[in-house]
């Protein structure tokens, strides 16, 4: 514990000292004293694009040609990133531009670390061409702080081989989903018909929204969680009921995260599961036999249609410490629109944040692209864009609810009431 606990303090202390010294030096900024055209420091998350090195080599060349400035890209691990952002914010050593996860953008904006992008976006005239769900997630206090870059979405992925043998069809309503699960269980009693993981919040919200419920809504200055509304409870009842009443999931799944779902699906042990548009590659990587044996459909709404699903992805954000904000935005624009944005999306398997680019992707007929693209456009949603939503995630409020229902410790009514109370109080920052 001390390690995990003291490190941030020590880091914060160190960062404060650093802040003091740099301030004393006369605020030279982190780039040092390079000449006028200077360097642009950028942090990018590691692992999204398998060929990130090659990609950024091309971007650097193009960027230098256009602006004369050098690009300095540093790759950061997702796991360390939040801590690193916080300590660098504390020390005033933030990069000029960084990739920020969509749920972090409001948090860092609230801390005063990010620069508003509205003027720049307006100047470039690209405001109307951005994907709505990502703009919503990057907006704090009615200003845009996160430039939509790329995102993925979760849909229902199913094992086509198991579906064929069991003689069931991919579902379009909840009733059909349950019938399909029953058919799968009959044919494969030892396998998992539908995985209902307990520690994967983004696989839960589609069922809440699909039944007409809300995760949380903002009225005036106050957030209210709707997880315990009758609609939400109906959705939760259905989703967890597949495990607790139908027995279509497994007891192990009570503590599963999304990575565990992926492992089990790749091993061919799962009939269907809510999985991300970025996972097909990973499934085949894990088990080459799965190639061509799975497909996706949008998550069905209760009585048909598409249930909304969270757009998970990244923004490019500009930090207040950026000396040359126009230069920083030139880079942001280069990355999030046009050729490079499209290249990134093709290489990484994520959807671009620019609507005009997305249209091309939508025309795809690939069974592992088209359903996700439909979900993305017709059923994309955002988690509550509150600066405190990260705190809700850190508290694992939704996972706590799911686990207590799945393990039989609490009913849907009890667990959702406790979760809604906690979420409301954490979102409003009053504990």
């Amino acid at each position: 514990m001390t390690r995990a606990m003291r490190r941030p303090i020590a880091a914060a202390t160190g960062a404060l000292l650093l802040a003091a010294t740099t301030a004393a030096c006369g605020g030279g900024g982190d780039g040092g004293d390079s000449e006028g055209d200077g360097t642009l420091d950028v942090w990018i998350m590691q692992g999204t694009n398998p060929d990130a090195d090659g990609f950024f080599a091309d971007v650097s060349t193009a960027f230098e040609e256009e602006t004369g400035a050098t690009l300095n890209v540093e790759f950061v691990e997702w796991g360390d990133a939040h801590d690193r952002f916080v300590t660098s914010i504390a020390g005033g050593t933030t990069p000029d531009v960084a990739e920020t996860g969509t749920t972090w953008t409001p948090e860092f904006a609230d801390a005063g670390a990010l620069a508003s992008l509205d003027e720049h976006v307006e100047g470039a005239g690209i405001g109307d061409d951005l994907v709505e769900g990502l703009v919503e997630a990057g907006t704090y206090d009615e200003q845009l702080y996160g430039m939509p870059w790329y995102a993925g979405v979760r849909s229902l992925v199913y094992n086509t081989e198991m579906f064929e043998k069991a003689g069931v069809e991919p579902p379009t309503t909840w009733e059909e989903l349950e019938e399909a699960a029953a058919g799968l269980k009959e044919e494969y009693p030892d396998k998992i018909a539908v995985a209902v993981p307990g520690d994967a919040e983004f696989t839960v919200y589609p069922w809440v929204w699909g039944a007409g419920g809300e995760v949380a809504t903002l009225e005036g200055d106050t957030w209210t969680s709707g997880l315990d509304s009758p609609e939400s409870q109906e959705g939760l009842e259905f989703w967890t009921g597949l495990a607790t009443e139908g027995g279509y999931s497994s007891t192990g799944a009570t503590t599963w995260r999304e990575t565990d779902v992926l492992d089990a699906f790749a091993a061919g042990d799962v009939g269907m599961a809510v999985m991300g548009s970025w996972t097909p590659g990973a499934i085949v990587d894990a088990n080459a036999d799965m190639e061509g044996k799975f497909a996706a459909v949008p998550i069905p709404g209760q009585d048909g249609g598409i249930a909304p699903s969270v757009l998970g992805g990244s923004h490019l954000s500009m930090f207040e410490t950026a000396e040359d904000k126009d230069l920083a935005f030139t880079f942001i624009e280069m990355m999030t629109t046009g050729e490079f944005a499209q290249q990134w999306s093709e290489q990484s398997g994520y959807f671009p944040g620019q609507v005009s680019l997305l249209d091309e992707t939508l025309e795809s007929t690939d069974p592992l692209v088209a359903p996700f693209a439909r979900q993305f456009v017709e059923g994309g949603a955002s988690v509550p864009a509150a600066p405190t939503y990260g705190n809700v995630q850190a508290k694992l409020t939704t996972s706590t609810m799911m686990q207590s229902i799945l393990s039989g410790d609490a009913t849907v009514a009890e667990a959702s009431k406790a979760a809604a109370e906690e979420m409301t109080s954490v979102l409003n920052g009053s504990e």
Binding site: M1, T2, R3, A4, M5, R6, P8, I9, A10, A12, T13, A15, L16, A19, V86, I89, A90, E107, D110, A111, G112, A113, G198, D199, S250, T251, G252, T254, T255, W256, A264, D269, G390, N391, A394, K395, L396, S399, T400, M402, Q403, S407, D409, V426, E431
Partner: protein, 315 residues
């Protein structure tokens, strides 16, 4: 020789001090470099942590540099939290007691075994237990998680193979079975230190005394508890104090278990709870207050224990 030299030099540099004064000042002078290093590396961070604990210190305060002093509010909030008293502390203290007893008992048993082995087998056995010690806590935890995994774990497989279990059980959702696994993990990781330390003490116990006791007709147990244990009192003191401190602060072994990161509220311990409540919520002041309280608690335990050992020795 060297001592004489320093003495003469000191006498020269402090000519006006009387002999008695020099005698009190000298040790401090000699300790000064070490104390200075400790003050910079340990004392200053401790002071900072204490100062943070009196503030509402979050991301916003870090960026703006504004300080908001709130006195003892963080402490009041911690002590008023019902979760602390009903779940967190019972889990932490209960677990620490069981794992200290388990680690020390098992480690001592292994040390006695090692002491009775010949050189060759002692080398082989101690290398084997060193492997358990050398394994990083994270790796070790994942191995135990894998063993007890509901669907693909060895443990469920064996139980079902023996017909003791009909359907797979998820051992991580129940508070007791969860901590039983953590206990196994922590004892497995902690006993080599105890074994090696106690072994060093055991080898120092005079053979003559043991032989004399045997001649007087003392059995193995009598010899162990009446001769060896009193001889090893200091060794046990060190081992128990260190184990207590370590087992109180268990974090990774709980955090990395399925459900241990906070989604199973009934298994929260002090380490995970403080991490989730403070750093997960960007409340660094609150986290510092917890760290201060934990330090005081461990200091108190250590002080009581050391006094007890010293008192026994004086008798």
């Amino acid at each position: 020789m060297t001592q004489q030299l320093t003495e003469t030099r000191l006498r020269k540099t402090l000519p006006r001090l009387s002999r008695a004064r020099a005698a009190t000042v000298r040790p401090w002078l000699l300790l000064a470099p070490a104390l200075a290093v400790l003050a910079v590396l340990l004392l200053w961070p401790l002071v900072r942590v204490f100062l943070f604990s009196l503030q509402d210190y979050g991301l916003r305060e870090i960026t703006t540099g504004e300080l908001s002093w709130i006195g003892l509010e963080n402490y009041a909030e911690i002590l008023a939290s019902p979760e602390l008293w009903t779940v967190v502390l019972p889990n932490t203290v209960g677990f620490a007691v069981l794992s200290v007893v388990g680690t020390v008992a098992f480690g001592t048993g292994v040390a006695v075994l090692l002491a009775s082995l010949g050189t060759f087998w002692r080398t082989v056995t101690s290398s084997a237990i060193m492997a358990a010690w050398a394994m990083p806590a994270v790796t070790g935890t994942y191995v135990w998680v894998w063993i007890f995994d509901a669907d693909r774990g060895v443990f469920n497989d064996v139980l079902m193979g023996l017909g003791l279990l009909d359907d797979p059980t998820n051992w991580f959702t129940d508070r007791w079975s969860f901590y039983a696994i953590v206990l196994l993990n922590v004892i497995h990781h902690g006993f080599p230190f105890v074994a090696v330390t106690v072994l060093a003490g055991l080898l120092g116990v005079p053979k003559e005394m043991l032989e004399a006791a045997e001649m007087d007709g003392a059995g193995a147990f009598r010899r162990f508890f009446s001769i060896i244990v009193p001889q090893l009192r200091q060794v046990f003191a060190v081992v128990i104090i260190l184990s207590t401190i370590w087992d109180f602060k268990v974090f990774a072994q709980v955090y990395l278990m399925p459900g241990g990161a906070g989604s199973n509220r009934s298994v929260l311990n002090l380490g995970v709870w403080s991490y989730v409540e403070s750093f997960g919520q960007n409340r660094y002041g609150f986290g510092s207050a917890i760290a201060v309280l934990l330090t005081l608690l461990l200091l108190a335990i250590t002080a009581v224990y050391v006094r007890a050992v010293l008192a026994e020795e004086e008798r």
